[in-house]
């Protein structure tokens, strides 16, 4: 796991991208924009004594080293950090950046991840010193702007969810899920007056659920019970009725679900779940389909998490940061994590740590300080920019774009090899099955994905949801143009045509990337 102890470099054939059998095919694809060069870590660069940092001068009397920090508590050798100059650091990381594909460079239809454009206004606003250099323990009366922003964001999210109470604290979607499961436990324990044996402890999760759902259930000390999917792609109501009993604490649901389908039976599902006293949890990963059009609270959900980095456009940063605020119904509100932001009658904002009687029921704190405020600034800016009508427009265009892309793929005959797994129309994303393609054209979904890299597209989410054979999950988002969707459909059609001629082209792809297929088992 360490770059330091490496004493060898793997043999590197250099920068040539030539492939003996398929040179012509490679040439037909879009030229790869990413740098192909030998990977060298920052630890392998530089020279002893080289540096970027200049330490401010010692302006206080030099203390006796031993009395300030005894030798037995000190490091005997400096940490082996790089010894590099500023220009070397800049060149190294700029060169690494050119080995990344990113949303600003091209289409990124990664299903369930909502890779929509990140307006640069948000970065500028978040970098204002009044936001970026505000200490989290600044006194509330000296942080009124930040608290007002959080209060307004809480209000906007509550309205979008259709649930009255919001905590901004969770750091990401899965952290919001964990909050939701702990809230569910607290709710049942409070109602039942006891914890442990006899309490509802089962959490129903559809077999289409994101992996974070079952993982979260386990971390919250609850037990996963899987629900089957019906032929329409929704929850199998018979299976739900059979499993819904007094041991059930919660049903976790994504709606629209990971097949890109809105579960039409949602009201009945809510009635069954509430009928046994359980809570209904909404995984907000797919909220981008329904903003201003349908609200989880109105569907009967008790707890919702938002992925601010999805529907409310945070740059994904190559794997974070994000934020996962939650909204809850009245009956769950007493258990919310603290602190929450409040406004007094005279318009003063405060952080309510729950010093009063209500605090006893709070599940407590989930992290340090108040949440990922920098993300709140960006998502608040987004909500201010779009407003009520704009949020609705965003969801409408997201759904239109997904349906248009689906239609274009059908038109191009792609459906023969990559049929839609469920339904006819879709919401903001759709799932194709690569099963027929694998059978007839002898290439798998993975091969199609790797070949798409040569066409300059980020592949869709692959092999998820698990119940679809060779799944491809495609989410174009509302910020893509018709031209981009057409080009993507064309690329898929071309890859299938190419595979019909010679499957080896896809099997050996990609050709134009900084590295070719990697051994991921190593």
């Amino acid at each position: 796991m360490s770059a330091i102890d490496e004493n060898h470099l793997h043999a590197d054939p250099g920068i040539e991208g030539h492939h003996p059998h398929h040179g012509a095919a490679v040439g037909a694809a879009a030229a790869g924009p990413l740098q192909r060069e030998r990977a060298t870590t920052i630890f392998q660069k530089g020279a002893p004594g080289r540096r970027a940092f200049v330490c401010p001068p010692l302006d206080v009397p030099e203390p006796d080293a031993e009395s300030v920090l005894p030798a037995r508590l000190r490091r005997s050798q400096p940490a082996r950090l790089p010894e590099v100059s500023e220009p070397e650091i800049v060149r190294h990381y700029v060169s690494l950046s050119k080995r990344n594909f990113d949303l600003d460079s091209g289409f990124y239809p990664l299903g369930s991840c909502t890779m929509k454009h990140n307006p640069r206004l948000h970065e500028r606003a978040a970098a204002l010193p009044g936001h970026a250099r505000l200490h989290p323990l600044q006194d509330a009366e000296r942080a009124q702007g930040a608290l007002e922003l959080m209060f307004n964001l809480q209000g906007a999210l509550a309205e979008i969810a259709g649930l009255p109470h919001v905590s901004l604290q969770p750091s990401a979607g899965s952290h919001g899920e964990l909050a939701g499961m702990l809230l569910t436990r607290a709710y049942h324990e409070d109602r039942g007056g006891r914890s442990g044996i006899g309490q509802p402890h089962k959490v129903l999760t559809p077999d289409t659920a994101h992996g974070t759902n079952p993982a979260t259930v386990t971390m919250a000390g609850l037990e996963v019970v899987k629900l089957a999917t019906n032929p329409d792609g929704g929850i199998d109501l018979d299976d739900l009725r059979a499993k819904a009993d007094s041991d059930v604490a919660c049903l976790m649901l994504t709606n629209p679900n990971t097949l890109g389908l809105f579960d039409r039976n949602i009201q009945e599902i809510a009635a069954i779940v509430h009928g046994v006293g359980a809570t209904l949890y909404y995984d907000g990963a797919n909220l981008n389909a329904v903003m201003g059009l349908s609200r989880p609270g109105d569907m009967g959900f008790d707890i919702v998490h938002f992925n601010l980095h999805k529907s409310f456009t945070q740059p994904h940063g190559g794997g974070g940061p994000g934020a996962g605020p939650i909204a809850v119904s009245e009956r769950i509100a007493p258990y919310l994590p603290r602190p929450v932001v409040t406004r007094s009658a005279d318009g003063v904002f405060a952080l309510d740590h729950g010093a009063g009687d209500g605090a006893a029921k709070s599940i407590g704190r989930l992290r340090g300080f108040h949440g990922n405020y920098g993300c709140f600034v960006r998502s608040y800016a987004y909500i201010c920019s779009l407003g009520a009508d704009g949020l609705k427009d965003a969801s409408e265009v997201a759904v239109l774009n997904a349906n248009y892309l689906l239609a274009r793929l059908r038109e191009k005959g792609v459906a023969e090899h990559l049929p839609l797994a469920y339904g006819e129309l879709c919401m903001h994303e759709f799932v194709l099955s690569g099963g027929p393609m694998k059978r007839d054209l002898k290439i798998k979904t993975l091969d199609l994905a790797k070949r798409l890299l040569d066409f300059g597209f980020h592949p869709p989410t692959v092999y998820f949801p698990l119940l679809v054979d060779e799944a491809l999950m495609i989410e174009p988002t509302e910020t893509e143009t018709k031209e981009t969707l057409d080009a993507f459909a064309e690329a898929i059609a071309q890859i299938l045509a190419e595979a019909a001629e010679d499957p080896q082209i896809a099997l050996d792809a990609p050709y134009s990337t900084p590295v070719r297929r990697l051994d991921e088992e190593a």
């Binding site: 796991m1 360490s2 770059a3 330091i4 470099l9 793997h10 990413l34 990977a39 630890f43 970027a52 940092f53 401010p56 302006d59 206080v60 920090l69 508590l73 000190r74 005997s76 940490a79 950090l81 790089p82 990381y93 700029v94 080995r99 949303l103 460079s105 990140n118 204002l128 009044g130 936001h131 970026a132 250099r133 505000l134 000296r142 009124q144 922003l149 259709g162 899965s174 952290h175 992996g211 971390m219 039409r264 903003m291 349908s294 940063g317 190559g318 794997g319 994000g322 407590g364 704190r365 340090g368 949440g371 405020y373 993300c375 201010c384 949020l391 980020h458 590295v515 990697l518 190593a522």
Partner: protein, 468 residues
Amino acid sequence: MLAAVGVSSVQEIFERQIPEGVRLDRELDLPQGLSEQEVFAHLSELAARNVSAEDELSFLGAGMYDHYVPAIVDMLTERSEFLTPYTPYQPEISQGGLQVMFEYQTAICELTGLPVSNASTYEGPSAVAAAAYLAKLHNSRRKLVASAGLHPHALQTLRTLARGYGMEVVEVPLATGVAGGATDVGAWTAAIDAETSAAIFAQPNFYGAVEDAAVLSAAAKDAAGPVVIAQADPIALGVLAPPGDCGVDVCVGEGQPLGNRLDFGGPSFGFFAAREEYLRRMPGRIAGETVDVDGRRGFVLTLQTREQHIRREKATSNICTAQALNALAGVVYLAWLGRRGIVELGELLLARTHYARETLGALAGVEKLHEQPVVREFALRLTTPEGAAADVDAIRRRCLERGVNPGVDVHELTGRGQDRGVLLVAITEKRSRADIDRLAQALGAAVAGERDGAAAGSEPVAQTAVVA
């Protein structure tokens, strides 16, 4: 586009899929949208109503610190290629991000003296709770022994999440008297038994004291062999003995001091390093080295069978999106500091913090809370003439009027009775000797003023003009 889809309107797509009963039949009750310049003006106006570390002389710390962030951190984290990709699921077009993770992990291993690191967790306190979960997976014991020297947010987070894990948290007090300020080794050893899954301490602790990590680790191991977890400050690790060398099994902490903004508390990142035997129970992403079909060196997300998207309810953690961009800032910052710079910075902090502690501790009505070594933060006890705890809130307000934010009211954060009158002061390289002297003046005057005010029956004191 509608014709291609085969519908007459966008509404039809929704009407055919969403039952009428759950369709919103009104517009959201939110303001209408604004132009870019209007939004920027609004957010600027909100920013202007915050007093940032630029607007006052701030000695706030307690978990997040106003260190200098070099310009190259902004320049590199703002690059589209790092800013806008998702988690590197397609390694062939994510070599930049994956190699950054690999280099970041290497830097964290170097700082902590432990052989494996993940690519980041959310932030410091939740990283402590994640480490406790690793201990539970490792030994299935049910008790967590935690020093009272942990950051109060870490203790609170640990309690919240341990409840989910079905674990109990036992808090060990700090020692008092001459050896006070550090974890009470006797109580620590006594609290650890065969049911103890993990023993957790902070380095330095919340009150600034450098703990004897080797003594705490050895005592824990001798007692019952729990997983020893340290929550460490990464800047202090530039000069302190690496936890891994002191017998610590898992070292986690708050990464904000490494090139990340204050951001009113987030986003930052949590680091997470461990001994090799815990590798398969680590939470989150881990980048590893491999080769492509041509034998060319490359990087991939490795050991994914631990993770939620593969392992589902049997995963070692539910974490998915973490803090990749913040970790990038961390590794760029560490490369910028470099092998010598991190030591020089640490020595400067030691010297200035020592100077500040001695200077402030010599003021009337101000004493050092403890005599343990400190790196860049220390606690003071403010007293009344009778020796009781002074009103920290009132004293802080007097300092604020002079444009000096003297630090954190510890009681407000911990709620512990013995923390009444305690002020926590942080010194970064941005606080010069002149700044520290100005703090001494402000604090001295404030404590004296409060004493005089109290003696005179709490008469209002003449206000000093605000100097920002």
